[in-house]
Assembly symmetry: C2
Homo-oligomer: 337 residues x 2
């Protein structure tokens, strides 16, 4: 704020150009000069004005992170991992919350708010309509989508259908035949939303094993929270008392399912099995079996993709799909009938 490059320059008897080059480690500066500049800058407590540097260079050294709600586990996890990766590389993380569940249709994203503020954008769990997509493209900066794939853009995620299919197969292997499903709804037209693909995984797997996969066995909620999972499970069990297992589209919903089962005086795993998907940190405390996704790696990968794109490396629409892992705990056990 107070000491500027000019002062460092005059103190060193060099031009501001040389100070600028020396400080940023650019070539074309004599070793002695560089050392002198570095020391002087240090002594004077000089910090370059990021705002002036941005204006002059055209680079902001900031990344925009657009997501629905950072207080939710998955988003917080991805954001944290991405932020650390960005910070190590010298980038700041600008977070934008764009709630997608406050109405039937979420608020549109206006890329103007980040125009000129970031060098790249990472979008979590949001699907953009053609207009938003066009505006985003018009920004002329790299964009990476996480969790929900946007055609033509870089993407990081898991194979949601396969994850659900494996969870479902696990329950079938344990001897379950009537397996209910807890799914989420998307307020926007988004066929690639994870919850839709997970539902597909359940549905197709059930069919493949000639088991029922009717709508009657599927209960959808608006937001996939534990409390909605609780309510949905009660509705499901009231309607279909013959169910012996439940596959939830997310661990948080699965936790709600476990809560509901317990509050009915039943025991998860023994009376009704439950499987989730995600690998939530609190899953262990619920003894929840799940298909875990490598959240930390996903966040880091998304950040790296953005960083690579800024550096001109990698393709514009690179896709990284991580494998999921079966985590067996006591919420899913053999069916005994």
């Amino acid at each position: 704020m107070t000491v500027r490059i000019e002062e460092v320059a005059s103190a060193c008897q060099v031009s501001t150009a040389t100070v600028s080059r020396a400080l940023r480690g650019l070539p074309g500066v004599g070793e002695k000069t560089r050392q002198h500049v570095l020391k002087t800058a240090q002594d004077l407590g000089y910090t370059p004005s990021p705002t002036a540097a941005s204006l002059a260079s055209g680079h902001t050294h900031s990344i925009g992170l657009v997501q629905p709600d950072m207080s939710r586990w998955f988003f917080g996890k991805i954001l944290e991992s991405a932020e650390r990766t960005f910070r190590k590389a010298g980038y700041d993380a600008l977070v934008y919350s764009l709630p997608d569940y406050l109405g039937p249709v979420r608020e549109r994203f206006n890329p103007d708010v980040i125009k000129g503020k970031v060098d790249a954008v990472v979008v979590l769990s949001l699907f953009f309509d053609p207009e938003e997509e066009a505006q985003l493209r018009a920004l002329g900066i790299p964009v990476v989508f996480v969790s929900v794939q946007q055609p033509g853009f870089a993407y990081v995620g898991i194979d949601d259908e396969e994850a659900a299919a494996r969870a479902c197969r696990h329950l079938i292997t344990l001897g379950h035949k009537r397996i209910g499903h807890l799914s989420g709804q998307t307020n926007d037209k988004c066929p690639v939303a994870p919850t839709q693909r997970r539902r597909e995984g359940w549905c197709k797997t059930m069919e493949r094993f000639h088991l029922e996969s009717s709508e009657d066995l599927d209960e959808a909620v608006t937001i996939m929270t534990a409390s909605n999972g609780y309510l949905a499970t009660n509705r499901l069990l009231d309607r279909r008392p013959d169910i012996t297992a439940i596959l939830a589209s997310s661990d948080e919903m699965a936790m709600g399912a476990i809560h509901a089962i317990r509050s009915r005086g039943l025991q998860p795993g023994r009376d009704i099995s439950v499987m989730g998907i995600d690998g939530h940190d609190l899953g262990a405390a619920f003894d929840l079996s799940t298909m875990a996704q490598p959240v930390h790696q996903e966040g880091t990968a998304a950040a790296r993709l953005a960083l690579d794109a800024i550096a001109g490396r990698g393709s514009e629409s690179e896709t990284v799909v991580f494998p999921t892992t079966l985590v067996e705990r006591s919420s899913a056990k053999s069916a005994h009938k």
Copy 2:
């Protein structure tokens, strides 16, 4: 990126100064001129360069949010509420993660990384040493601390000691006499860390009722996670099988306690009562009784305090303390002996 203020000005036959004033709603612009400028800017798709505006005005319209780990529930919650408040006011949120549990002493905060990038800073759950504090002050911008009070700075939080005391009294009222405590450790010397004050609340209350509050009844962990709460509870119960209730310094630890109790074949509430502090979203799924803090209000209040300080309103070291609420669920019930 492409259309600049100059173009809008010449299209309107006015100076850039007038365009600037008109667009920002400043006084001193004729109504007709303003409308014309607004429309032209709109038609041309003009968006002011934030970076140029910052350099010229000295304001960044960004707020720095410094915290240990946004993937943890409490931080994510506060961040989300603060971000929305900032965004409504036209401010961007720059998030900085400064892990405080990766070693015996956390990494020092270097305010240089945010120098010139933000108009104010909100610090969550971090206590700064004299050097960090001095550097922070040197930034010359408003700073608001949340959760951990830093003398001389604005603060938003709850009365942690009182919250723990009330939780403890609740258990005593239910007839419990041997109440164990799960606490956290602070790696830095910080007597005002919430977990320390909560421990005080338990300790003093037990003493007041002439009940045991020895170290033997207190089990401390490094990070207050559910898994550490699980381990700590097992250690505590192995050592003191006479305990009938546990007060945890955080809901996440309480969840671990409930997990431990269940895995011992016991039933929370019936065999051993558990109380937490925080009001975690997943508390209901655990049937966890707790002293809830108004997290959303705290995040909003912290943001408002920062905004007010930027606007020159409010005192430099304003303090906002929110009340906590007893939430009774089935994890804490009457002792039957």
